[in-house]
């Protein structure tokens, strides 16, 4: 991962700032909160890897912050900071899921060891999750589907770029199918007989990355019992897919740049220069231009990768693809589970259409899989779907006529429990027009 996000929560500014300054030198991204209230607010907006929380604070205490964090995201490591007199509370915090506690002032080494251990554990966890999703994706999610205009444009682009040998950068939110697009490019290229090698830059711990990419010579390090080929070598004649390239460390950015420039590299512990012929496709859900501006992604590497680039649109911007995708997943999961489910009911489909799908196609796929498992009838019903409605902001309106129309639509929808067919009938418009109005006014069914 690119850097570790740490939130320091302490009501003493001097403690907060001195710790932040110290940890910044390790290359972490540091944020601070002066109270438990502010910390909880920040946690709603940003996902942190580590929290360093002072136990004694006015208002929401450190212990309360810990409990709330553990309820919403149990994988976040919370380290409690305590003064000598409150060790008992620190022990209570450990029982409530704190990773560890530090007695202030603490030895710099103590802090370093704890953070190192957390990062190691989290890297291991990420790798496990990645391996599980890789397996899942390989077995089920192998086709790209879409009849919407944006997807048709993506298909045309894929056909255009496939025969070339240029580096491609695919951007798009999580779950939009960036890896599928990369596979499609590979399958339609002259390299289709060669391997398609995936490197998930965000999932492989940094200390393993060098050996994963470049391979290693026997004896290069303690665990190097045999000489091993790296993924660069394995991808010879094929395509190297660098997923989550935005998460790669500064060190690996330097190494990758060198390889992309001359295609020559060395195994770890090796002295023989190796050459490999591969095409690079990289993907990220990050805005790399912003990362370059922030100084966390090398500009030269960005330009090296950004030869041809395209963005896969999020599912909420191509809602017309939802019925097609949903039916596709329904067919697949009913076959897999052998359940006699014929179709998705109109009300359930309305639910699917109204939802914003922050997790995109992958979230839709998971929603249908769950619905198939829990459904007890021949039709998927709204209550079979695990989706929920996030709060939706309403955009400022330009004029009063629009305001009246919006208010009227909201009233009719609410009176009819957001039943789209009924509401559309009462409003005297067809369902697709109502969907467009809902989208235009950014309306959302209350939870």
């Amino acid at each position: 991962m690119l850097y570790t996000k740490i939130l320091i929560v302490d009501d003493e500014p001097i403690m907060r700032e001195s710790l932040a300054g110290w940890l910044e030198r390790d290359g972490h991204y540091i944020d601070t909160s002066a109270s438990g209230e502010d910390a909880l607010k920040k946690l709603k907006e940003t996902r942190y890897d580590i929290l360093l929380v002072d136990i004694k604070m006015e208002g929401i205490s450190g212990l309360d912050v810990l409990k709330r964090v553990k309820e919403s995201d149990p994988d976040v490591a919370v380290v409690m900071i305590t003064a000598y007199g409150s060790i008992a509370t620190a022990i209570e915090a450990m029982k409530n899921g704190a990773y560890d506690y530090l007695l202030k002032p603490f030895d710099p080494d103590e802090l370093g060891i704890i953070i190192e251990k957390i990062l190691k554990d989290q890297a291991q966890l990420r790798e496990n999750i990645y391996l599980k999703t890789q397996f899942k994706d390989r077995t089920r999610f192998e086709s790209m589907i879409g009849q919407s205009r944006p997807m048709q444009e993506i298909f045309d682009l894929i056909m255009d770029v496939s025969p070339r040998n240029s580096t491609v950068l695919i951007t798009g939110e999580t779950g939009t199918g960036k890896e599928l697009a990369a596979k499609a490019i590979h399958s339609n290229s002259a390299r289709c007989e060669g391997p398609f090698v995936v490197v998930n830059c965000g999932a492989i711990p940094e200390h393993l990355m060098e050996s994963e990419l470049f391979g290693h010579q026997k004896g290069a390090f303690t665990d190097a019992k045999e000489t091993k080929k790296g993924r660069l070598e394995i991808s010879h004649g094929g395509t190297l897919f660098l997923d989550e390239i935005g998460e790669i460390s500064m060190r690996m950015q330097i190494d990758l740049l060198r390889v992309l420039e001359d295609r020559v590299f060395y195994r770890v512990g090796g002295t023989q220069p190796l050459k490999s012929d591969f095409r690079v496709i990289a993907a990220t859900n990050r805005n790399l231009e912003d990362a370059v501006k922030e100084g966390i992604f090398r500009e030269d590497l960005y330009y090296r990768l950004n030869v041809i680039s395209f963005e896969i649109p999020p599912l909420r911007e191509r809602k017309e693809d939802i019925p097609l995708l949903a039916e596709h997943f329904l067919r697949r999961f009913t076959q897999e589970t052998n359940k006699p489910i014929d179709r998705i009911s109109r009300d359930a489909m309305d639910e699917l259409m109204l939802y914003e799908w922050p997790g995109n196609v992958r979230e839709l796929e998971n929603a249908i899989e769950r619905a198939v498992v829990v459904s007890k009838s021949r039709y998927i019903q709204p209550e079979d779907l695990p989706i929920f409605r996030p709060d939706c902001r309403i955009s400022p309106l330009d004029n009063s006529l629009q305001e009246i129309e919006k208010a009227h639509i909201i009233r009719i929808l609410e009176e009819n429990a957001w039943n789209i067919s009924k509401s559309a009938k009462i409003l005297g418009i067809d369902r697709s027009t109502l969907y467009n109005k809902i989208k235009h006014y950014r309306l959302s069914k209350p939870a």
Binding site: S18, G21, W22, G27, P105, F106, D107, H207
Partner: protein, 205 residues
Amino acid sequence: MPEYDKRGKPEKPLPKQVISRPAAGLQTIIVSPVDNNDSDIYVSIGREIHRLFGFHIEIRSLLQDVNFAFDPNRNQYYSTAILEKLAGTLPSQAVKVIAITNVDLFIPILTHVYGEAQLAGKACIVSTFRLKEGLSPVNIPEKFEKRLVKEALHELGHTFNLRHCRDKSCIMHYCRSIWDVDRKSDQLCRYCKILLEDELKNLER
């Protein structure tokens, strides 16, 4: 002014207090002794800084003492306060300053620090207080000087926006013990070298 060859060795003998070369315009890094009179050691530090970072070096005391940063409760000196004052006294032609002190330094959350730096900033400081740990009278001068030089280069590296490096031999590696300081080299690894070059280019812009 004495010229240096490519390995950073002076071609002519060095004057006692000023070592410099016209390598990077008029910009200078100041080595600022606080309370130590051993001028030879500053010449060594200056030479090594010049070798690694390539700037003019000037040995010049910017702070007479650091008593203003003394905390009677901890019997230690608050390094962040020293850095702020140090950065405020920096002459315009100087890009960075490194202060060398004998006193024991701390930041409020930690028991002690060997040194502190303003990340991508102007000032850094190194304390000799804990650097003599485990040295026998026979090897004190030589080993102590090596430790001090390494710590000085490390802290100065931070002012050039270099973060801690996981390469154990790199000067930017964060050492858990003084023995690790002895083990690491006085060189930047190839990654940190590139990152330093990037930062130097940014400074030129």
